[in-house]
């Protein structure tokens, strides 16, 4: 039951997002720039990488994003990078170097996943699709994406109900046994296809021409430009200059 519940919770997070006054394209570009910067760090540069966490921290505070929810969300990225990096202490030149490279890999994975989470929490799916259209993303893909997103909740709930009903009929079983694989998923598939046909007919009746009208939402062009430029400079500085060391020197000078 955990998987459907988690999926529904994450979908609702995206539903509640948006309305931050920044153009979704600006949010998307800054996120891509940030992820590129994080990915480009060398595998032993933990000090530089730690500085990139400032972006996540500031946006979490600014947009009231729960850090606990975010950590729960990025858990799969943590697990995956840990699994890949676990061999580094054995195969790197020394255990310490391998441990450092493993830690760097895990932090990189978590920061990138957190950036994607914040992007969705900032913008929401529809404004993000509007930003993708601005970038000339094909309309077919956008329509499929939006339709899929619209029916995700309904189908996940349906699976949850089917699983509950099955468990109530067969208490004590773990997972679906082999003999019911085809009929269980097949029935869901048939219902989904029938639903898709009904959806298409009703869309046609309402004048669907193969495209959705998308709006980026209300936003301030000035704030969007300021947001992009400021974050661009900050990410560039964090990536290429030892900002923390410079701040430390400045701090000691002030204290003296």
């Amino acid at each position: 039951m955990k998987k459907p519940d988690r999926a529904l919770r994450d979908i609702h997070t995206a539903d509640d997002a948006g309305g931050n006054g920044i153009h979704p394209l600006a949010c998307l570009l800054v996120t891509i720039l940030y992820i590129l910067a994080v990915m480009s760090f060398q595998k032993y540069n933990m000090a530089g990488l730690a500085g990139m966490a400032l972006y996540i921290l500031i946006l979490c505070i600014w947009y009231d994003i729960s850090i606990l929810d975010m950590l729960r969300h990025i858990w799969p990225a943590f697990l995956l990078t840990a699994m890949i990096g676990i061999a580094n202490p054995i195969f790197d030149s020394t255990v310490s170097a391998g441990t450092l490279s493993m830690a760097t890999l895990i932090v990189k994975g978590c920061l990138c996943a957190a950036a994607a989470y914040i992007l969705i929490a900032q913008t929401g799916i529809r404004p993000l699709c509007s930003a993708l259209r601005t970038l000339h993303f094909p309309k077919e893909l956008i329509v499929v994406l939006l339709l899929m997103y619209r029916y995700l909740t309904a189908l996940v709930r349906e699976v949850k109900q089917m699983l509950t009903a099955y468990r109530l009929r067969t208490p004590g079983t773990k997972g679906l046994p082999f003999r019911t694989w085809g009929s269980f998923v097949g029935l869901l598939l048939l219902r989904s296809i029938d639903r898709a046909e009904e959806v298409y007919e009703s869309m046609q009746l309402r004048g669907f021409q193969g495209d959705f009208l998308l709006s980026p939402g209300s936003y301030s062009p000035v704030w969007s430009a300021v947001y992009t430029v400021l974050w661009g400079i900050a990410i560039f500085a964090l990536r290429f200059f030892p900002v923390f060391q410079m701040a430390e020197v400045l701090l000691w000078r002030i204290l003296k």
């Binding site: 600014w62 310490s96 490279s101 996943a113 077919e140 996940v156 085809g182 598939l189």
Partner: protein, 339 residues
């Protein structure tokens, strides 16, 4: 098999995006030429179906463990390879954005590893070829299992190549490959069985829903088979060339990985378990007097910025909290108007 952003270098991620974009461009062109607009809502709902079906755990007979389906082979068998591929892109995009399964910049690689092989190799090559003389229960089951096994093996092999080309892991090529392929062989068999069970159910109830590999009248491809092969070969050469270009320019590339794998005196994969155990012992004995790789500088850099980092973080957080107090919340204006 979803790759995170951290497992790829920007050059490899970009190259994989190019490859996936080329396949997506071909699929969109094919879909437009077929003029089957009614397929688009079906694609959307099928994407949601694949996502929802991934929530179901299937118990694997005789093992006590469970697995779940991936869906690209099933999408190809129901919608056809091109529409299936585009639907899988949407599934992967939603998984990446909403559920942190795979990274935003690793999306190109994930599309290639899961959607391209599943839909084009599994659907266009295996499913189409095995069912062209008519579908039977046997051909459907065989095509499903063979398609899932083969496409997962190809996907796992690509993950190994992409990770090593990015210089992310210290695992030698052979060890990494030996770790990835057998696991995905087992997963492929299970997924193949699930896919065949569902497709057989569909064949028994509504066989007209299965894609039989024939083109519709208007939907004949503008490219001949030879032309398609030429485009695919050209793409392979272009992608390979780009990848090697980036790898040679960047020490974290494929060249680096191969040189590192073959040239390290300490790693002796030929020695098997004994060499590995010897290496672990040697590394562990170095622990008391270790130095950070790259000399003292790396360790020094790691430590010297801590105080500065904490100071910067505190200032940023304080500014954020202060600014947030002055920020107008969406509900505030409404409340003021009401009062």
């Amino acid at each position: 098999m979803h790759m995170a952003d951290a497992l790829l270098s920007p050059a490899v991620a970009g190259t994989m995006y190019l490859g996936s974009a080329a396949a997506a461009g071909y699929s969109i062109r094919k879909l437009r030429s077929e003029k089957e607009e009614q397929k688009i809502p079906v694609m959307g709902v099928m994407g949601a179906f694949v996502f929802a079906a991934q929530m179901i755990n299937f118990s694997i007979p005789g093992t006590g463990s469970s697995g779940h389906m991936c869906g690209s082979m099933m999408l190809a068998a129901v919608l056809g390879p091109e529409a299936g591929f585009l639907t899988m892109i949407s599934v992967l995009l939603v998984q990446c954005l909403l559920f942190a399964d795979g990274g935003l910049l690793a999306l190109g690689a994930n599309i290639w590893n899961m959607a391209f092989y599943g839909c084009f190799v599994g659907g266009m090559v295996i499913w189409k070829r095995m069912t062209r003389n008519g579908m039977t229960r046997r051909t459907i089951a065989a095509a499903s299992v063979l398609g899932c096994v083969l496409t997962l093996q190809l996907g796992a092999f690509s993950v190994v190549l992409e990770t090593l080309a990015s210089g992310i892991t210290e695992l030698p090529f052979g060890v990494f490959l030996a770790a990835m392929q057998p696991i995905h062989l087992a997963i492929g068999v299970v997924e193949g069985l699930i896919t065949s069970a569902v497709l057989l159910f569909l064949y028994g109830t509504r066989p007209e829903l299965l894609w039989n590999g024939t083109e519709t009248g208007e939907g004949k491809s503008r490219l001949s088979r030879r032309g398609t092969l030429a485009v695919l070969a050209g793409m392979a050469v272009a992608i390979g060339g780009l990848l090697s270009l980036f790898a040679s320019a960047d020490p974290d590339g494929l060249e680096w990985s191969v040189e590192r794998t073959a040239g390290m005196a300490e790693i002796q994969p030929e020695g098997g378990v004994y060499a590995l155990a010897d290496r672990i012992r040697a590394a562990a004995s170095l622990l008391p007097d270790y130095t950070w790789k790259g000399g003292k500088a790396a360790g020094g850099t790691s430590v010297s910025g801590i105080v500065g980092g904490i100071a910067v973080a505190c200032v940023c957080m304080a500014v954020c909290f202060l600014l947030r107090r002055f920020r107008r919340k969406p509900g505030d204006q409404k409340n003021n108007e009401e009062t």
